[in-house]
Each structure stands twice: as C-alpha cells, then as structure tokens.
C-alpha cells in the first residue's frame, strides 16, 4: 500500500493560533513519514506538554502525549523495549530545555536511535507568554512585565555537549527543508536532535516571521528584505564526522558550536553535526545481550498456557543449602 501524506492526518481539530509555526512542523512530520513509507503502526509520536504537546493527536500513528518535561523518558523506554518502532519525540523549548533539561542531557549520553524535535519559540505559549530557556537575556516579549533576566540556553551547543550524534536546525516556514531534515534525522543511526525555529505569533513579538525574513532589513541596492535565515547546505560547511579520529571529532564539534552562536544578522539552518561512529544505545545493548535486536523485550514470549516459560532452576540451585555454590 502506498502511503500518502493524507494517511498521516487525523480528524482532530487543530486549535493552534492562526499563523502558528507549529503547523509547518506537523506538516513536515507527516510528509516525512509518508516519504519514508513507514507503516503507520510501526511509528509513534511522543509529545510533551504545551502547544507542541498536542502534535501527537494530529498525526495518525501511535500518539503518546506525556508530561511536561518527561517526553524523552517515555520515548526512550518504548524504543529500548521495542527497537523496531520508529519513534519521534516532540516538545517545546521550555519542556525540553527547562523542566526536562536533565533528561535532555541524559538522553544524549545514551544515544538511543530515535529523533527529538524541539519547537523553539522562546516563550511559554500555552501559559500566556512567559520567558522560556531560549529567550535571550534582556529581551522583553509582549507579555513579560520586565525584560528577561536570564541568559539563554543554546540548544545546538547543549545537544552536542550532551552527546547527541545528529544535531540540526530547521525553520517552520521552510517546510520542504524541514521535511528533509526530519527524514535525515529519522534515518540517522543514533539520537537525532532537531531544533526548529517556530515563531509564536501571539506571544513572541521579537522573533517573528517577518523578523526571520528580514523585513526590517531592506537591502539598499535591491530594496528587498535581507533574510536572517541561511542554509548550511548552501555553504561549504561539512557537519559529518568521517573518521574515528579525535582531532576530526573535536574539530567537528567545535565548528558546530561556533556556528550555533551565530544569531541576529545570520541564522544558520541545516545539519550542524552528524556522527554515526558513536555506537547507539541499541548496539551497546547487544554487547551485553547478544540477541537483543532479534529478540527484544517486546517480542519475547513469557508464558505458555498461563505458565511461565522462564527457567529459574539455575538461580535457585545456586541458593540451595545442600550444595556449595562452586559445585
């Protein structure tokens, strides 16, 4: 059966604000799933809490709308138990980098083979526009009583420092590029992180769609806006770690972090860093449990006719007082 984008849409009413950047992300996820022809029952969207948390209800695959900050914990548990699932976790920047920051860092260390997309708009939208961890110091978005007094988290830099092995940034109004990035993220062997710049039309009156397109910066000669967003793939930037070599690894990580610091006049999108030489968690498990991938937890039979088929004789024998343990 050929899958179309429409097959991945539910009929749940989408109650995001008109003009919300989240629409572009949902569309891109649906397009990516259709393009990869992943059977619907083999993929699952896990989401956090907030506007972005509703994403799982709009996509017609398994949808697990979890708790604020905890989406990665649920998603990793499912993926580890059943590595045959394609799992995409989504959440807001407050969800993933504020309340869930500890899980973000720990997930990087594990490198479970799945994708995590952060809907990054620098505000807590659903609770009416408080400053989120990615809002810059000193900025005062619409509903803040006073300017933000915290420094911002750099999601790309944090992901690289934490051990994510695919780190990219998309822009929700460039759905085509975003779809390609999602496909690349899902196909990546390891934990992929995608930071999606997503203007909140209601509460972020600084980083608006017009701001990203440079409507406030008119080129004097062409009389056209000078967009802030540019694509790394249009430059000679090479994000890939090609060799198991410390010098190259350090250089690739460093260049990605430096690149991620660009803001204001030039904002890069695309793949910042990609390293498939670091073993994913699933591979690390096969070092301990050789048949883990063929017979993971979710596929194991545990009973026959209501009786356990696990044999515990050896364990119990070792506890028998009649015998010594080394017999």
């Amino acid at each position: 059966m050929v899958l179309k984008v429409g097959d991945f849409k539910t009929d749940v009413h989408n109650d995001w604000c008109p003009g919300c950047g989240d629409f572009g992300i949902v569309n891109a996820i649906q397009m990516a799933l259709a393009e990869m022809e992943i059977p619907r029952h083999q993929s699952a969207i896990f989401s956090g809490i907030g506007c972005s948390g509703k994403t799982s209800h709009f996509i017609n695959v398994f949808g697990v709308h979890t708790l604020h900050g905890r989406v990665l914990t649920f998603a990793q548990g499912a993926k580890i138990a059943n590595p045959n699932l394609e799992i995409i976790a989504v959440g807001g920047d407050g969800d993933g980098l504020g309340i869930g920051a500890g899980h973000f860092v720990a997930a990087g260390r594990r490198n479970v083979d799945m994708t995590y997309i952060i809907f990054d708009n620098a505000v807590y939208g659903l609770t009416k526009g408080q400053a989120s961890p990615t809002l810059k110091l000193g900025e005062k978005t619409k509903s803040l009583p006073t300017p933000n007094i915290n420094y911002n988290v750099n999601p790309i830099g944090l992901a690289i420092a934490s051990g994510f092995t695919f780190v990219a940034r998309g822009y929700s109004y460039d759905v085509r590029q975003l779809k390609d990035l999602i496909v690349a993220a899902v196909r990546h062997k390891g934990l992929a992180f995608l930071d999606v710049l997503q203007p909140c039309p209601t509460y972020n009156d600084i980083n608006t769609r017009d701001w990203f397109s440079g409507e406030d910066r008119i080129d004097e000669t062409t009389k056209k806006p000078m967009p802030r967003i540019y694509k790394l793939e249009d430059t000679d930037y090479d994000p890939v770690v090609h060799y198991s070599d410390e010098t190259e690894l350090n250089q690739k990580k460093t260049q990605a972090i430096v690149k991620s610091l660009e803001w204001d006049s030039k904002i890069p999108t695309g793949i910042f860093y990609k390293n498939e030489l670091i073993t994913p968690f699933t591979r690390r498990l096969t070092d301990k449990i050789p048949n883990y991938l063929e017979n993971p937890s979710a596929l194991q039979k545990i009973s026959r006719d209501g009786k356990s088929i696990t044999n515990i004789d050896k364990i119990l024998d070792s506890l028998n007082v009649e015998k010594t343990k080394n017999e």
Partner: protein
C-alpha cells in the same frame, strides 16, 4: 531443648562484617539449622559502625530476638555498642589489643550515644574503656575470650612463610567468625567449604582465607575454654534455600516475565536492580534466550517514565525505588493511572521523613503510596510480609497490573531487603501468568483503546500492533485517547476508571487480600514485614497458653473494608502493629471501620521489631497493664 542462638559480629563499614556473617550463615544452614540474619549499617562507605546479627534455630524462625549469645568484636566500637546486649552465659570474643581504648577514642560515636555510654559506665563504677565495658559484661555473667588478632596474623604469616599476611588486617572478619566456630566446635570442614564458596570467584584469595580460617579455628579449639553448647548436625530439610531479602522480588520478576526494569540508585532498593542486571540473560524453556533490560536512569522520574513507555509496547515493566524516589514518581504515576497503563513499582521503604534514616528500616510510606498523585485514579497498593511471600506476591502484582490495567505499588522495606534467611525453595509451578486483556492481534479497523465494556476494562493494544493505533494523553480523553473536555465524557471516564477499585476487591481472591494467621479475642492487625516478629511472638505466647489472633492485610488499597470486618467479627481487642509513628494502617482502620484500634504497638527507631519486644508488649496487653500506645525502642 530447642536451639535458639544469636551470633553477632560488628566492625567498621568495609571491614567484611557481611562476609563473615555469610560464612556463619552458610555453615549453620548446611548443618540443617534455620537462619534469620539482619544487617544494620550507617549511610556511609567506610568507617562507620555496621553489624550483622544471625539467629539460628532448629525450629522455624522468622525474626530476630532481643539479646545476643555470642559477640565477635575486632574493633572497640563493637564492644562499646553491643557488649551490654550479650545475655547471661553468653560469650564475647574480642581483640585483646583494644582493651585500653577509651570511649573518647572512638571518633564515630554520635555525641548523644557517647554521653549515654559514659553515664552508664560511670553509674556502674567502671572506667570509660573497652576493659570497663567488658568488666561490666563479665559481672552480668558473660564469658569473655581475648585474643590478639594481630598476633594470629603474625603467627600464620610465620607458619606459611608469607610476610604479607602479617599486615592483612582485612582478614580480621574471617578470623573472627572462625574463632567463634572453633569455640563452638563446629565441624571444621563446614567452615572450609563456606569460605571456599564465598570466595569462589577469586581462588588465591579463597586459599589465603581458608588458611586464616583454619588457623583461627584451631587456635580457638585448642586455647579457649569450651562451654557446654552443642550444635549437632541435622538433616537438611528438602528444598531449603538461603536467600538475601531482596531475592524474592528479584527472582519473582524474572519468572513473572518482567523484561524491563528502569531504576535510579537508592538504598535499599538498588540491590534488586543489580541482581536483575547480573542475571540479565534468561533461560527460556524450549525457546531462545530471553533477557531483562535493566536501565539505570538519570532520576526516578525517568525511571518510571521509561517503565511506562516500555509497558506501552506490551512488555511487563517495573521500577524499583524507595520513599524519596517514589515521591518523584507521582506525576508519572498519575499519568499511568489516567491512561490505564500496567506498571509495577517495587517500593522498598526506609525510614523518613525526607532523607530520614536512609539505611534504616521503616514502614512510614504506606499513606504516601496510597495517596500520592495528581487527582483521582485507580491503583493497587499491595504488601508482602516476608522474603518468600515477596516472590509469589511479585508474580501476582504483575497479574493484577495486567488484568486491571492499573499501576501497582508493591510495598516492601529495608527489614526484608537486608535480612538473610533460610526458606523453602520458591516453587515455580505455583506461578501463573495472566496478561488480562492484552491483545496480540487486531483484525477490525475500528479499534478504540478506551472503549466502554461491561466490566469497565478495555482490550489493550500495544505500540507496534497492526490495526491497534491508539492515543494516550494526561488530559481527559475520549475512547480513542484524544483530548476531550466534554463534561458528559468526563463523568463516563471517571466512572470507568474509578469503578475499577470495586472491581479489584471483587476479583482478587479474599485469600490474597487478607491472611488470617490465627484467631483470638486479642487480635493483631498489621501489614508487611512485621509478619515475622509477630508470628514468632504469637508462638512464644502459645507456649504460655495465650492465643493471639493475627490478621495480615496484604491489599492495602483499595482497602478490603468488608472482608476485614468479617475477619475481626470474633475479636474483642484490636492491636495495631506497625513500624511507624502515626499508626498509618491504624488510620485506615479508623477511616474504614469507624473503630479505633484498642492498642498500638509502634516502632520508629529505624531498627526492625524483634519478636521478644512484641511478645513482652502483648503480655502487658493481655495482663491489662499496657498503654494504648506502646513504643518499642530495642536495638543499636
């Protein structure tokens, strides 16, 4: 006359006290004796005082007693802390080089304890030294044996022509246990066997320890004055195993088909996860090897989050924690509740509040387990009374979780976790697996995860199952699992979930909800690990011609109110026994039976109850000279 003997060894943490106790326990279990051992230790890696008391008997024992028959001390602190616990005609074997150590030389004493100790010695006109303490013991009829542990090593070193042995003070533990076995004239080959078995993974270390063990054994056999204690070798009862307390739930999880356990390190719960990981590859009858995935997470929130995620794929999943960890889990627990996700939380309680006494025993999290969470949702809280029960109960709690599609909190505690006991080999033929309405195949194209059904439980799909797509959300939801704030749907969904509590009481067999161990006008109502000391105390009272009833409540939530009423109908006096301050089960009894228990026997020192203490208190109650609230305090 029946043998009933308590042996104790103490020493700084890291000095191998546990190893010595394991040698002792193995020796006596191989001689056909019943064992009940308990370990006490500080929240500390090295240096603070720890001790291990092993009770042996030729009859069934389930708890510790008050008092020690033989104490082994190779440091001053052990003598200061325990010498006055040694009973008349008891024995102390100690390192003679400690004699002049003063109370003030022991830097690990709490100030309060130091003051109490100095006052005690002063009131008895003894100097504040080890010698003073030992003189006091001698006056109480204790036989004191002194030997220089250091000289033993020196002599052994010369005998074996191995100068390194001279400085191997880490073998003091093996010397201590071997001296005691030599004094008791236990067949020496049992000692050799046990030492070999305990060090079986390190041959050279086993060899040197066997030499030390035999040397100390022979020394004591030749030099110590023997008493008339005799320990005959008995027939080992068939199928006896010697287990650490946490083996019950660990092995229970393996046989139940729990294939995913996530955890964050916390005392006293971590040993279980460690056991599961050590035994992660599983033998499957007529099948390829299985495995338990054990994942150490970044915190307890992640531990339960992962377990829930895993459970959604159809895997029997669990986490194991203690009070502070459970406190972090409550939001996810609520999510599992609203989404009807079967997940097992194995809850090894310790003593709170907050960090409290992190390595000590307590049963003060009962109401926390029952009440913690956001909003109202069904859950099961189920408690086990001993190691063996905890094996069978573990297999049941996974069934309950699957059948009723609720989170199950399985209550245990530090007393169970760190006891060592002989018991009957766990019988796997008694284990049943019932996965409830979990689906393996869906052929229709209109599956709804939360569809209404007659019994209120919907057929359950799992992530990855064709035609079984569902949605979950922590919001209220419709039958597909999509968010719904509709008030009519809300009422239906609340009814669907909360009616489960009544259904659980209806479906779980009465014998699994409450155990009536015995009947009497005076009737104890209790839960969890107090079972052992209560049963032993009841036996003791029976010998005095007094029958005491005992009702153990295993299903604590939903509370089996009517069943408890029925069980209590013939009892005149209700005695609530618990290891906490408030009498938490007592409050459930007050709430459900509208009746205040007549007596409360409580202990919250962080040390487990002994049968002797319960016996003494029950005596007071039956003699009508007890307070309504009796607080137990025995134990160092």
């Amino acid at each position: 006359m029946a043998t009933d003997f308590t042996w104790m060894i103490g020493g700084p943490q890291g000095s191998g006290v546990e190893t010595a106790a394991n040698i002792f326990s193995q020796v006596f279990s191989k001689m056909g004796y019943q064992i009940f051992g308990k370990r006490e230790y500080y929240s500390n890696i090295k240096g603070e005082h720890s001790y291990f008391a092993v009770r042996i008997s030729d009859e069934k024992i389930r708890s510790s007693v008050k008092g020690t028959n033989m104490l082994i001390a190779f440091d001053a602190e052990t003598i200061f802390r325990h010498a006055d616990d040694v009973l008349e005609n008891g024995i102390i074997i100690y390192d003679s080089t400690l004699e002049n150590m003063r109370v003030s030389d022991v830097i690990t004493f709490e100030n309060d304890f130091k003051d109490r100790l100095e006052n005690l010695l002063k009131s008895k006109n003894k100097e504040a030294t080890v010698k003073g303490m030992l003189d006091l013991a001698s006056e109480n009829g204790v036989k004191v044996h002194s030997v220089s542990f250091r000289s033993l090593l020196t002599e052994l070193s010369e005998k074996l022509e191995n100068p390194r042995i001279k400085n191997m003070s880490r073998m003091f533990n093996v010397l201590g246990v071997s001296l005691s076995l030599g004094l008791l004239m236990i067949p020496s080959e049992k000692l050799t066997d046990s030492v070999n078995s305990i060090f079986s993974k390190k041959k050279p270390i086993a060899e040197i320890n066997v030499s030390a063990a035999n040397f100390a054994y022979n020394y004591a056999a030749a030099k110590f004055e023997h008493n008339n204690l005799k320990f005959a070798t008995k027939d080992i009862q068939d199928n006896t195993i010697l287990v650490q307390g946490y083996y019950g739930t660990s092995i229970g999880k393996i046989i139940s088909g729990c294939r995913f356990q996530s955890y964050y390190p916390i005392t006293p719960a971590t040993d279980e996860s460690n056991f599961l990981e050590t035994n992660e590859i599983l033998e499957i009858n007529e099948g390829r090897p299985g495995s338990t995935l054990v994942v150490q997470t970044e915190d307890e929130i992640s531990a339960i989050g992962m377990a829930i995620g895993s459970s959604l794929t159809g895997v029997r999943s669990a986490t194991c924690t203690s009070g502070p960890g459970f406190a972090l889990m409550t939001e996810c627990l609520s999510w599992a509740g609203i989404n009807e996700v079967p997940v097992v939380i194995t809850f090894y309680q310790r003593s709170g509040p907050s960090t409290g006494l992190p390595t000590r025993h307590g049963q003060d999290d009962l109401l926390c387990a029952i009440n913690s969470g956001v909003g109202e949702f069904p859950r099961i809280v189920y408690a086990s009374g001993n190691v063996s029960d905890s094996f069978y109960d573990t297999t049941q709690v996974f069934n309950y979780a699957d059948i009723f599609q609720v989170p199950v909190i399985h209550m245990l505690d530090k007393f169970i976790a760190s006891s060592v006991t002989t018991c009957e080999r766990f019988d796997e033929t008694k284990v049943n697996i019932d996965r409830g309405k979990l689906l393996e195949e869906i052929t229709s194209d209109n599956y709804n995860r939360f569809a209404h059904t007659e019994d209120g439980i919907s057929p359950r799909s799992k992530l990855g199952l064709e035609n079984g797509i569902f949605w979950n959300t922590g919001d209220e939801s419709d039958t597909q699992g999509h968010i719904s704030e509709d008030p009519v749907n809300r009422v239906e969904k609340m009814d669907k979930r909360q009616s489960r509590l009544g259904y659980i009481l209806e479906k779980i067999p009465e014998s699994e909800q409450i155990i009536q161990h015995s009947e009497g006008d005076f009737c104890i109502v209790s839960w969890g690990s107090t079972q052992g000391p209560i049963l032993d105390a009841i036996e003791m009272l029976k010998n005095d011609g007094i029958d005491i009833g005992f009702i153990e409540i295993k299903l604590l939530h939903p509370f089996p109110k009517e069943l408890l009423k029925k069980h209590l109908s013939n009892s005149k006096t209700i005695i609530n026994v618990e290891a906490n301050y408030d009498g938490q089960l007592g409050s459930l009894i007050r709430q459900n039976l509208e009746k205040d228990p007549d007596y409360y026997i409580l202990k919250f020192t962080g040390r487990p109850m002994t049968c002797t203490e319960i016996y003494d208190t029950l005596k007071k109650i039956t003699n009508n000279n007890a307070q309504k609230r009796e607080v137990l305090t025995y134990g160092a």
